[in-house]
Subunit: 301 residues, 2 copies
DNA sequence: CAGACATGTTGCAAAAAATGCAACACTTCT
DNA sequence: AGAAGTGTTGCATTTTTTGCAACATGTCTG
């Protein structure tokens, strides 16, 4: 796709914020790069970058153009993907942006399943906080997104969503282990292993605690899901999970998960989708199909 | 937009059906054009055209690519339009595809009004039969469409639609001129001036006549609206019109229009819109706004 | 406050890419 | 069988792009 090289140049200049740095990344001379930029601006009749002393910055016109550029680039990828699919080969890359809650269990299994059927398809997982996932789609950094408790869905095209009630996880000999359902104040009596505040799970828990006037004692606050899962809970510590991560085969033995009373802690939602108005490459579209089908089977009963 | 010159080449080859003819139109050598085509196919890894003895024909892959090309070209026009609009200038071209029923009266007045406000905007009117209007959008020959009685709306994004009951037009001293409403069999007793069978109006009339077992005697069948309008009706001939064309100032004097009984002849619809999923250039979008606003004022009372 | 540094930009020669010309291989119609 | 199309390719030429060096300008720093 040599013909949209100028586009790549514009994108890189915008990212680097400087012609010289961009030229370095693109391994051409600053002068050549500058001239291409000037040529583009000449064709458009307007400047795309405003020149600062320390470099360049995108113009309003430039931002409109950049959006167009990103659309075109990923649409060309889609075209290539569809064309490759015509000859029976399923190739391409699927870039997934997902909330940290969803990096384990279900999603890896789905990717693995898809790759067994189509080994030519590669995957890229971008772990993003709930407020940043949508941005990854807008920047065309990712094709599809899995968001737990999305903040806004302005540019998001929802393909599927499932409800995920909050569960409390503990050792099976824990005093609370026998209960059918837990109130939040019961959990608050024990030390807690909580995810970071940027997580959707933490957001739900904090809001619920605030509303109920409960103080959650965070013994360990972690950004890593595996850390919370594997932490040794000798002192009766509790952590939280959502059902999509509670596969019977996968989880460590000796632990139980008990749902929280939905009156205390509202259910969360997992949203699956892509950038609004975009046609996905074949591989990404088929992957979404597979995932939503399996989600329907597992959670729609 | 020098960088998508290869795209223009592909489009022209597809249209011409031959590399040599396309090269002639593009005023370059067949060899150069051929090499560019080979380069594109090499980059895609697939042939875009199948080589026949008499020339070339688009492949399935080529058709996918061509759709992408057309999208990209018109989207770049949109970008240019938006950028130009940033600096206060309103420029560009609005290409309108419309049914033959709608070429007079309302539409010219709207275009004229818009051009008085923005003289920098040019217009292009493509008169198409109802079955072909949508195709003009798909081919990106037109930006917006006005269709009377559309056949299918698969790729059509409706922005507005209005109901248009069928009216019968006659001289004011015609025997039927005093009536409030006409039955179709009453009209059938007189010689008729009818539009061609490809028109939506004719379609509605023929279907109604067929259903009611009435035979419509077509004295004059014309493809030109103006011909039917200006025809001298000494022998009591009747013609038909829709309200959008019956402006009190504009129409010839001495004529009256009487609505047909909607039980005999169903109302027609005028659809206004554009290609589904496409973002229109500024000029086209604003023009649509103006038209729909005025339509609402005139027909929503 | 002056010097070092980094920025975008331009002139000019070298390198790279695209083009035109002519010829070839092939099919179809006369 | 020949004429007239078609797409394709080798080679010299032309056009375009690039790299190098230098310049003008603004910012940071000791």
């Amino acid at each position: 796709m040599r013909h949209l090289l100028p586009y790549k140049y514009v994108e890189e200049i915008a990212k680097a914020g400087s012609i010289r740095k961009a030229a370095d990344v693109l391994s051409i001379t600053p002068s050549a790069l500058n001239r291409r930029l000037l040529a583009i601006e000449d064709e458009l009749g307007v400047a795309i970058f405003e020149r600062l002393a320390v470099g360049v910055r995108l113009n309003t016109a430039g931002e409109i153009l950049l959006e167009h550029i990103r659309n075109q680039m990923s649409d060309l990828e889609r075209v290539k993907s569809q064309i490759a699919d015509l000859s029976g080969q399923r190739r391409g890359n699927v870039a997934i942006a997902c909330s940290p809650e969803l990096t384990g269990g279900f999603l890896p299994a789905q990717v693995n399943k898809y790759q067994q059927e189509f080994p030519g398809v590669t995957f890229k997982i971008n772990r993003r906080f709930r407020l940043d996932v949508e941005q990854a789609l807008v920047e065309h950094t990712s094709d599809v997104a899995f968001i737990f408790e999305p903040a806004k869905l302005a540019d998001f095209q929802t393909v599927y969503n499932i409800r995920q009630p909050m569960m409390c996880v503990m050792k099976e000999d824990h005093p609370l282990a026998g209960k059918e359902m837990l109130r939040l104040y019961e959990c608050a009596e024990y030390p807690l292993l909580l995810p970071e505040t940027s997580w959707g799970m933490r957001f739900i828990l904090d809001q619920s605690a605030l509303r109920l006037g409960i103080n959650l004692r965070s013994l360990v606050q972690s950004d890593a899901r595996e850390f919370l899962r594997d932490y040794d809970r000798e002192a009766g510590q509790l952590s939280f999970e959502i059902p999509i991560n509670l596969n019977r085969d996968n989880e460590p033995k000796g632990m139980v998960a008990i749902p929280l009373n939905p009156l205390d802690v509202p259910e969360g939602f997992v949203f699956v989708g892509h950038l609004r108005g975009r046609t996905l490459p074949v591989a990404a579209a088929r992957f979404l199909e597979q995932v939503t089908t399996e989600m329907a089977e597992r959670f729609e009963s």
